[in-house]
């Protein structure tokens, strides 16, 4: 830093000065610090994987891959398997994705395709954002005291009249899959809607004008031009929404009933990986903690794969429309 090339070039009367040695020193230090912090997030992910992995190691070596196929979770007999939880996680998330996905995409269309005046659209967008801001436990509480009592007569009627359909083969006695999936759908709706809105807004306006110019009705333009053009972005929205649903914890722990069984019925209690962690962790014994860490790894891998897929599709969409990077 002593070889400052500008030092002797500076005029003695000038208000400006070349960077001092201290400036150079601070600059390189600060840059290194920022670079370290950028690396830190990668290190954090690696550390998370490593730490949970090493804590789970005893359980992984003890139960092996059979853990994923086992159907009992019994801390007193040291018997652990997460198949019912995987089933419950996927089942509730897929149901939520179907409901929340359809509603989210519809709301994205509603917000972007000139159904509303600018002002009303702003208000409606605020409603969707507020939906995302409400904490998970509050949805759980609402589910217990509003949604479940509301669903119970409907479920009872469906059960008595259509109990030959496996979906309605049990009655809703309290918490169960249906209220959990509905609340989950509400919770992923804002994610799906926000990313779909981005995808729809990215379509150049002339594409729609061209469609209208051909004499399409509004919905023909939406269904045959706008949605296919935005399809990859909407797919990304759905995949990322699905990832959210897989990892959601508290509302499900409160609503799904935490029962380790595999049942097709919408009204039977079930369990998910995340709510298994939430409900069993605080009182778990040593080996059970290891098994829970193993379950956490299963959950981590599941959401990781889904999220990376969603991000890759989103990246692809951005490239397709912006033609760069």
């Amino acid at each position: 830093m002593s070889a400052n090339p500008f030092k002797d070039k500076a005029s003695p009367h000038s208000a400006s000065a070349p960077p001092s040695a201290a400036d150079y020193w601070a600059d390189s230090l600060f840059r290194k610090l920022a670079m370290t912090c950028a690396g830190l997030i990668i290190a954090l992910l690696a550390y998370i994987l490593l730490e949970i992995g090493s804590q789970a190691m005893p359980a992984i070596s003890e139960y092996g891959i059979g853990f994923v196929g086992g159907t009992t979770w019994d801390g007193s007999r040291d018997e652990f398997g997460v198949l019912p939880e995987i089933w419950g996680t996927l089942y509730s998330s897929i149901l939520a994705l179907i409901i929340g996905g359809i509603m989210g995409v519809t709301i994205a269309i509603f917000l972007t395709q000139e159904f509303l005046s600018q002002k009303v659209a702003t208000v409606f967008r605020l409603i969707v954002e507020l939906l995302a801001a409400i904490p998970s436990v509050v949805y759980g509480l609402w589910g217990i005291y509003v949604l479940i009592p509301m669903l119970r007569p409907v479920a009872g009627w469906l059960h008595t009249h259509f109990d030959f359909i496996p979906l309605f083969s049990t009655d809703l006695s309290g918490p169960g899959l249906a209220p959990a999936a509905l609340v989950l759908a509400i919770m992923i709706l804002p994610t799906v809607a926000a990313i779909s809105v981005d995808a729809l807004k990215r379509i150049p306006y002339k594409v729609k004008e061209a469609a209208y110019g051909m004499g399409t009705t509004r919905w023909e333009a939406i269904l045959k031009v706008m949605l296919p053009t935005a399809s990859s972005g909407i797919l990304a929205a759905l995949v990322l929404g699905f990832g959210r649903a897989l990892g959601e914890t508290m509302a499900l722990a409160m609503l799904i009933g935490n029962s380790n069984q595999i049942n097709l019925s919408l009204f039977a209690p079930a369990n998910t990986l995340a709510s298994l962690l939430a409900s069993s962790f605080p009182e778990a014994g040593d080996l059970e903690i290891r098994a829970l860490m193993y379950a956490a790894i299963v959950l981590l891998l599941l959401t990781f794969v889904v999220n990376v897929m969603g991000l890759a599709i989103q990246q692809y969409t951005m490239r397709k429309f912006e033609g760069k990077k």
């Binding site: 400006s16 601070a26 600059d27 600060f30 840059r31 920022a34 670079m35 370290t36 912090c37 950028a38 997030i41 954090l44 992910l45 998370i48 730490e51 949970i52 359809i102 509603m103 519809t106 269309i109 159904f115 409606f124 409603i127 939906l131 801001a133 409400i134 904490p135 998970s136 436990v137 509050v138 759980g140 509480l141 005291y145 509400i186 709706l189 004499g215 009705t217 509004r218 919905w219 023909e220 990322l240 990832g243 990892g247 959601e248 914890t249 508290m250 722990a253 409160m254 995340a274 962690l277 962790f281 829970l292 860490m293 956490a296 959950l299 959401t303 889904v306 999220n307 969603g310 991000l311």
Partner: protein, 298 residues
């Protein structure tokens, strides 16, 4: 083309041209109307839960919300009265700890991503990891913190704060990066042209100009962290007393709601609603602050 030009040909063609105006009862028009109606219904249906939640919060929670509720300690079993003063303080303290950890680190990382090396391999890798981590199940932050802190030091407010900071960090990084990218390149170039070192450019131009956007991101991350419960479940645990040390189990609003929601006592359930109202208000305040510091771009 030439046929159309002659009047006789165009007259004979006009007989064959279908009526091009849209007919009110045509199938296409009906489909269009039906789908529009359906969209309105879905949109209204989608906002029903929000209004229902708000209604319940105001009617159930508002009825129970008084000075005692926000200052007293949680009641036990059949006790009447009580409140959740310790949980409000616990939530605020843990969110503060999480912000102290994640905001400086997040902004520094964002500086690298947005200004120092936007196209570098490290930047694209960390950007990708940050995006992946935003979709990270929040309970895993709790599991991770349990493994690194709770196993050795026991349940504490500090562990709760660390768990929340894991969740806040990616949000802060991505939001701050986005905000710094909005700073006009001309201003950055002008600063370099005047002989600033990169650090001077960042401190005197990029950070002050991007501050509102960065602050918005921070506020949204804080709002998200305040509402989180899963990562606190087995890091901060719960406590029935006021916070005395950062190294002991700590109450939080969200865990209080979770615990009380499953209790068979009306008093606790009313308190859970009141606590929900307070929690939603805290989250909303940060959301509104986020909006106030920067006018929305869209």
């Amino acid at each position: 083309m030439s046929e159309l030009a002659t009047p006789s040909a165009s007259a004979s063609a006009s007989a064959k041209i279908p009526r091009l105006e849209r007919q009110a009862w045509e199938r296409r028009t009906l489909t269009n109307r039906f789908l529009t109606l359906l969209t309105w219904l879905v949109a209204i249906l989608g906002s029903v839960p929000l209004f229902s939640v708000i209604f319940m919060l105001v009617s159930e929670g508002g009825a129970r919300l008084d000075w005692e509720a926000i200052t007293a300690l949680p009641p036990a079993g059949f006790d009447m009265g009580g409140g959740f003063g310790n949980a409000i303080i616990g939530t605020l303290v843990m969110v503060a700890i999480a912000s102290l950890i994640s905001v400086p680190l997040g902004i520094l990382a964002a500086i690298y991503l947005a200004v120092l090396g936007p196209a570098s391999k490290l930047a694209s890798a960390s950007r990708f990891v940050a995006k992946t981590l935003t979709g990270f199940p929040s309970i895993l932050a709790g599991v991770f913190t349990y493994a690194i802190l709770v196993v050795n030091f026991g349940y504490s407010a500090l562990a709760g704060g660390v768990a929340l900071s894991v969740l806040m960090l990616p949000t802060v990084i991505l939001a701050a990066e986005e905000a710094m990218k909005q700073v006009p390149q001309k201003m950055v170039d002008a600063a370099y042209g005047m002989g600033c070192t990169p650090t001077q450019v960042i401190w005197k131009v990029v950070l002050p100009t991007g501050a509102p956007g960065i602050l918005t991101g921070v506020m949204l991350a804080v709002a998200g962290a305040a509402g989180e419960s899963a990562p606190l479940l087995f890091t901060a645990l719960f406590s029935n007393y006021y916070l005395e040390s950062l190294m002991e189990p700590t109450a939080s609003l969200s865990i209080l709601i979770y615990n009380f929601s499953a209790m068979p006592f009306d008093n606790q359930i009313q308190l859970a609603w009141a606590a929900s109202l307070v929690l939603v208000l805290i989250v909303l305040v940060f959301n509104i602050l986020a909006r106030l510091v920067s006018r929305p771009k869209f």
